[in-house]
């Protein structure tokens, strides 16, 4: 079953602009993670934010988490053509026994030079 839903499904911007992707989920979580997938490849972990954190930074990435709204956002600043990829949020739901990741359907980001 899918937990996360990303919005928008697709995003097209110019190099240098910021890209914001949103993720909503349904149940209480232990943590939320963001992954990137280049076309036809495996996923690469970007950042993890725990349920007791509100904001986290990693280089040009900024992630926020609002557990009251069950939502998260990923901001990529000063985007580059190399950021073109699909981005997925994944949650670790609470109280599900083995803490498996549940992925959303992703946002496709296209950054044009």
């Amino acid at each position: 079953s899918q937990q996360g839903e990303e919005d928008p499904q697709a995003l097209s911007i110019q190099e240098g602009e910021n890209a914001t992707m949103n993720c909503s989920y349904k149940t209480s979580i232990n943590n939320l993670q963001w992954y990137r997938q280049n076309s036809g490849r495996g996923l690469v972990h970007l950042i993890l934010i725990r349920s007791n954190e509100r904001e986290k930074h990693s280089g040009r990435l900024r992630v926020t988490l609002d557990t009251s709204k069950k939502s998260s956002s990923l901001l990529i600043t000063a985007s580059r053509a190399a950021d073109t990829a699909s981005y997925f949020c994944a949650t670790v739901p609470m109280n599900t026994g083995f803490q498996k990741l549940v992925f959303g359907t992703g946002t496709r980001l296209l950054v044009s030079p």
């Binding site: 036809g40 495996g42 992925f103």
Partner: protein, 118 residues
């Protein structure tokens, strides 16, 4: 760096064939996972394993089985391949927590196997 490798990038099989997809990780991770990825459906968990010889069903285990005889290797088996199993298959691994089989940690993915069943 963690490395997760999968035996094939592309595979073409015929309906009814038995198919083996192999995954190997080199970081001594306790947990290993098999997902399939289909357009519009995201990643769906097929099976996972938190220890050698241990396996748990994920969300869509029907038509699949797994084997984990060694810690570094996790195999996905399609007993009798069908056309609806045409998909991208992704293997992943993660470190477990001492004393438990929780997976709070990031997962490391292999490059994927694109399987076509004719």
């Amino acid at each position: 760096d963690v490395k997760v490798t999968q035996s094939s990038r592309y595979l073409v099989k015929r309906t009814g064939e038995k198919v083996f997809l192999e995954c190997v990780q080199d970081m001594d991770h306790e947990n290993m996972f098999w997902y399939r990825q289909d357009p519009g459906l995201g990643l769906r968990l097929i099976y996972f394993s938190y220890d050698v010889k241990m396996k748990e069903k994920g969300d869509i285990p029907e038509g699949y089985s797994v084997s984990r005889e060694k810690k570094e290797r996790f195999s996905l088996i399609l007993e009798s391949a069908s056309t609806n199993q045409t998909s991208m298959y992704l293997c992943a691994s993660s470190a477990g927590l001492a004393g438990g089989f929780s997976s709070y940690n990031e997962q490391f993915f292999g490059p994927g196997t694109r399987l076509t069943v004719l």
